[in-house]
């Protein structure tokens, strides 16, 4: 019995690891090829379409000004650009700051939401912004983002050149990577995520997850979908599934880069990650029931992946750990040979080399210091996931039982201390 449990959990774990290995291979191939046709695209593209940039902001006075400034510097014809800041029920100076820019720049608009349409979360704000927008293409940026000058241009190009793509997704990078050990962890994590999960899945399955910021969606598509789901905690994952289900795909185009701020304290990080984990669990539960009626089979695959991650894989880890702990006290007569030790060593090497590939793609990140951090990360940062999933599950169960409504789980911002013009 214990042997069976142990083997089953070991198998589940390795199914996941092998899948990730496969994705990293794809990410590497995508890196080699994605840029080849940019020149061609720039030449062949016709007149640029009207773009509306939505920036939902809820108490963002710390960062909103820098973000708006970055938008003003975008390399995109200003007569074809519309910047809409959605000041969602802010209690601070967010609206004021945005208004001051709107008055001096004709293409900047501010939408102030008021109850009952206010404070309903990011989805609600985006839906409000969508109502006031005119662009053929809707781009979305978080209030803490500073996109590179060409970012929106590349997103639009990606959509123009790929008629089957409903959404184009760029890459995001961590602006405050050197602020603390935590942001160093997050920096490595996000780089790895982009190339492995985004790049790898796009390469093999044409699947990309919308990352909440730095993406562009066709207006026709978002209207057809009826906007964002205001009940979803993790509106981006939810939207991803619906985009695929309506027959479009999402293109990952890492040339479009945005820089964003990541949590600098563990407390903030914990809240943000809890929100993501709960959001993904919500999506899995929402779509699992009608898994096989979904149109696009590739997204089914992705949902199964999520299901694996948050339920099966999680159970696998818990069971194998439990078996191990029980065995410390009671002899379960497990028959595990040397091969499990070898697998453990390999898992570690796999982890390190996968991250090395991702880091080496980014010019500035392949440093001895980061490599040291990777080694530490394996035993520390990464282990927090177990605790996180348990906590998120607990919260999600409580939500279902007590019918609590979703609201803003805002990530706290940090004022920039130095190097204010990272993006000039």
């Amino acid at each position: 019995m214990a042997n069976v449990l142990f083997y089953v959990s070991l198998s589940v774990i390795w199914v996941m690891l092998l899948y990730h290995m496969f994705l990293m291979q794809g990410g590497y191939l995508h890196y080699l090829r994605f840029g080849r046709s940019i020149d061609f695209r720039e030449k062949e593209a016709g007149p640029l379409p009207m773009v509306s940039i939505l920036i939902p902001a809820h108490n963002e006075e710390v960062v909103i000004e820098r973000t708006i400034k970055a938008m003003l510097r975008l390399d995109y014809p200003k007569d074809r650009l519309e910047i809409i800041v959605i000041n969602d029920n802010s209690k601070d100076r967010t609206g004021e700051i945005a208004d001051s820019y709107a008055s001096s720049h004709p293409f900047v608009k501010v939408v102030h939401t008021k109850p009952p349409h206010a404070g309903k979360g990011k989805s609600g704000a985006l839906n409000q912004g969508l109502k006031h927008s005119t662009g053929e293409i809707i781009a979305v940026y978080d209030a803490d983002n500073t996109p590179e000058r060409k970012a929106v241009h590349y997103l639009v190009l990606a959509l123009l050149n790929d008629p089957k793509a409903g959404v184009a997704v760029g890459k995001f990078r961590v602006i405050n990577a050197t602020a603390s050990l935590l942001t160093r962890f997050i920096n490595i994590e996000t780089i790895c995520f982009q190339w492995m999960a985004q790049g790898g899945r796009f390469k093999w399955f044409r699947i990309t997850t919308i990352p909440g910021t730095n993406f562009a969606i066709r207006r026709s598509l978002i209207e057809q979908l009826g906007g964002w789901d205001e009940k979803a905690l993790e509106e981006d994952t939810e939207l991803t599934v619906r985009v695929y289900n309506s027959g479009w795909h999402i293109r990952f185009f890492p040339a479009a880069v945005t820089w964003e701020q990541e949590p600098e304290t563990w407390k903030v990080w914990w809240k943000q990650r809890t929100r993501w984990a709960r959001g993904n669990q919500y999506v899995v539960l929402k779509f699992l029931g009608r898994l096989f009626s979904l149109k696009r089979k590739s997204i089914v695959f992705d949902l199964i992946y999520f299901f694996f991650t948050y339920f099966l894989f999680f159970l696998g880890v818990m069971v194998s750990d439990a078996v191990f702990l029980v065995n410390l006290f009671v002899d379960l007569n497990l028959r595990v040979g040397i091969v499990s030790f070898i697998l453990w060593i390999l898992a570690f090497f796999l982890y390190v080399t996968e991250i090395m590939i991702a880091l080496s793609i980014e010019k500035t990140e392949f440093t001895p210091r980061n490599l040291m951090i990777v080694l530490v990360m394996y035993f520390t940062y990464s282990q927090l996931w177990i605790v996180l999933v348990i906590y998120a599950l607990y919260l999600e169960i409580r939500r279902v039982l007590f019918r609590q409504e979703a609201g803003w789980y805002k990530t706290e911002r940090f004022a920039k201390k130095e190097k204010n013009d990272m993006v000039s």
């Binding site: 959990s9 070991l10 774990i13 390795w14 996941m16 690891l17 990730h20 990293m24 590497y28 940019i38 060409k150 990078r173 994590e189 996000t190 790895c192 995520f193 999960a197 997850t209 990352p211 909440g212 981006d236 994952t237 990650r273 993501w276 984990a277 991650t309 894989f313 880890v317 191990f324 065995n327 007569n333 595990v336 040979g337 091969v339 499990s340 030790f341 697998l343 453990w344 390999l346 898992a347 570690f348 090497f349 796999l350 982890y351 080399t353 996968e354 090395m356 590939i357 080496s360 980014e362 010019k363 500035t364 394996y378 940062y381 990464s382 282990q383 927090l384 996931w385 990272m422 000039s424």
Partner: protein, 583 residues
């Protein structure tokens, strides 16, 4: 969304605990498997000086060997006439066995008297062994006992008849095993310091049990806390009913009882002498493989379990029972067993004996090789050997030991008569088995022709429980159906502190010759599917998958490393890298 990334990192990290756990478990498992009955056998060196009628090592001395083999891996036998002072060098324990009463040669007396280490005397001639035995007062050299008790217990073992013993009285020391003549106590096993005495020259059962029990005291070995047991499903051959074999195996596996299956790879029809091989019975092979997979240990039970024209399962294989001699001639030849006077010269007789011995050896070896090969080719890996009807010549045991580390059942004690047979109450490694470990069958088998099959075994179970280390070894014929098995098991399970022996976990090393056969069997020209299964017969498929994953991942890790280098080298050519300052 980005929760993705977190899980990617973490999925691997979680393995730390999982696999580190695996490592520890693996170590613990190996440790458990290596544990011998007690820690001492390898460290003890025993010299036995014996007094037998013709001065040779006879059946009785081999019984003593069986008893001592539990406590020492090194036992040397010398007759009282031959023993020399040099023989005692390096000896840790000295045993004297007087099978017959006679005047001992002075040199033997001298050697025994001057030995200062632990000294045990068994049987006759106690009065000639010197001062160390003065803790016993000899009352009568022709005493008798008719019952036995242990450690001052009120309960007795009643003997079936009066048995002769040397009757003594204790002056000092103690008598953990006491014999009784009516109500009169006679020390049966007495100890005083590091000197011991066993009063019976007769060692056949049940006396080997009393001796065995006493030896724990003599060797100062702690008594085992658990009572070992094992069960074999017996005589499974190509015509066995797969359903019944499976039912019996499933029943035991379902109760978490490790068990063995004694397999005979060839069935010989006694009328036509036509042979049927196991590989011709795929259904049975499948069942056996499944059972092996599920925990059963396969034991080779002869190659045909017959010789000449007897039937498989009935006939003797390693003994010419017709002539009551070792197998010495091909089955189709008429036995030619001359008595010594028929051959004129001593040299001629010796040559004749050597020739017979050589035939016996070649015959036995061929059968073992074929048996091992035919089983391993089918993915069945015999871990031990059990001689048909437990009969084998002394030369055969030498051959068996070259192939198997483990022997099951009972042992034939000499080459004179196959009925000279004994088993040991506990696991033992006597010198006449040349390194093989004997897992003794002690309580017989379920005999459906008896009115009370279980009741018949009852007495033997009780006798075994008398010995603290006594193994409850038994077998069952699966063709009887599973009901008898159920009642047998439910009776045995009532024995307190029972622990079933799992042959696989005893971690016996396959011998070089066995491995050679196994290799040729798995790489041989036999049909491919069967041989590929045989190659990995011992590993379960999941292990193979895990090794496969290891290989694939190793390759990918190497590739990823190369990618990293390639990316770094090619970075200058990169057109669309990060533009940190002027994006």
């Amino acid at each position: 969304m980005r929760a993705w990334s977190l899980t990617i990192m973490c999925s691997k990290a979680a393995l730390v605990l999982v696999l580190f756990g695996g490592l520890l478990l693996g170590g613990e498992f190996r440790h458990a498997a290596a544990a011998p009955p007690d820690s001492g056998p390898a460290g003890r060196s025993v010299l036995v000086i014996y007094s037998t009628g013709d001065g040779t090592v006879d059946a009785a001395v081999h019984i003593l060997d069986l008893a001592l083999g539990h406590f020492s891996d090194s036992i040397v036998f010398k007759s009282d006439r031959e023993v020399a002072p040099a023989d005692v060098r390096g000896v840790s324990h000295l045993v004297y066995y007087g099978e017959i009463s006679r005047e001992l040669p002075p040199q033997a007396k001298q050697i025994i008297a001057s030995f200062s280490g632990p000294l045990l005397a068994v049987g006759e001639n106690l009065g000639q062994l010197g001062e160390r035995f003065s803790f016993l007062a000899i009352r009568c050299e022709d005493g008798i006992i008719n019952k036995v008790s242990k450690d001052g217990s009120e309960t007795y073992e009643l003997l079936t008849q009066n048995f002769p013993v040397t009757e003594t009285a204790l002056r000092e020391g103690s008598a953990p095993i006491m014999g009784w003549r009516g109500d009169y106590p006679v020390p049966l096993f007495a100890v005083n310091g590091n000197t011991g005495y066993f009063a019976s020259a007769e060692l056949d059962a049940p006396f080997i049990n009393y001796l065995a029990e006493g030896l724990y005291r003599f060797f100062q070995t702690p008594l085992p806390a658990q009572r070992l047991a094992y069960i074999r499903l017996e005589d499974v051959h190509p015509f066995s009913d797969p359903g019944l074999v499976k039912a019996a195996g499933d029943y035991l596996a379902g109760r978490n009882i490790p068990y063995m299956i004694a397999v005979i790879p060839v069935y010989t029809n006694p009328q036509t002498l036509r042979q049927y091989h196991l590989k011709d019975k795929p259904e049975l092979v499948r069942v056996l493989r499944e059972l092996q997979q599920g925990g059963a240990s396969i034991v080779l039970h002869g190659y045909t379990h017959q010789y000449r024209n007897s039937e498989t399962g009935e006939g003797f294989e390693f003994w010419d029972v017709l002539n009551n001699t070792p197998v010495s001639a091909p089955a189709d030849q008429s036995p030619d067993v001359p008595n010594r006077p028929d051959i004129s010269s001593q040299a001629g007789y010796q040559a004749y004996l050597d020739q017979r011995k050589q035939f016996d050896r070649t015959y036995a070896e061929n059968r073992l090789i074929r048996g091992i090969r035919e089983l391993t080719e089918l993915g069945l890996r015999p871990l031990g050997f059990e001689a048909p009807h437990y009969t084998a010549s002394q030369e055969d045991y030498r051959v068996f030991a070259e192939y198997f580390p483990c022997l099951l059942g009972q042992t034939q004690l000499d080459d004179r008569d196959w009925r000279h047979m004994s088993t040991s109450p506990y696991i033992t490694r006597p010198s006449f088995l040349h390194g093989m470990t004997l897992l003794p069958e002690t309580i017989g088998y379920y005999d459906p022709s008896s009115l009370s099959p279980i009741g018949d075994m009852e007495e033997k179970i009780r006798q075994m429980q008398f010995v603290d280390g006594g193994v409850i070894g038994m077998f069952y014929h699966p063709y009887l159906g599973v009901d008898g098995l159920k009642s047998l098991i439910s009776r045995v399970q009532k024995i307190p502190d029972l622990q079933w022996i799992d042959l696989k976990s005893l971690d016996f090393k396959a011998t070089a010759k066995y491995q050679a056969v196994e290799r040729t069997a798995s790489s041989g020209s036999e049909n491919d599917a069967a041989s590929s299964i045989a190659k990995d017969g011992r590993k379960d498929p999941l292990q193979i998958v895990l090794w496969g994953i290891s290989a694939v991942v190793s390759v990918m890790v190497a590739l990823f490393f190369l990618y990293t280098i390639r990316i770094r080298l090619g970075l200058r050519k990169q057109l669309f890298g990060e533009r940190k300052l002027n994006g």
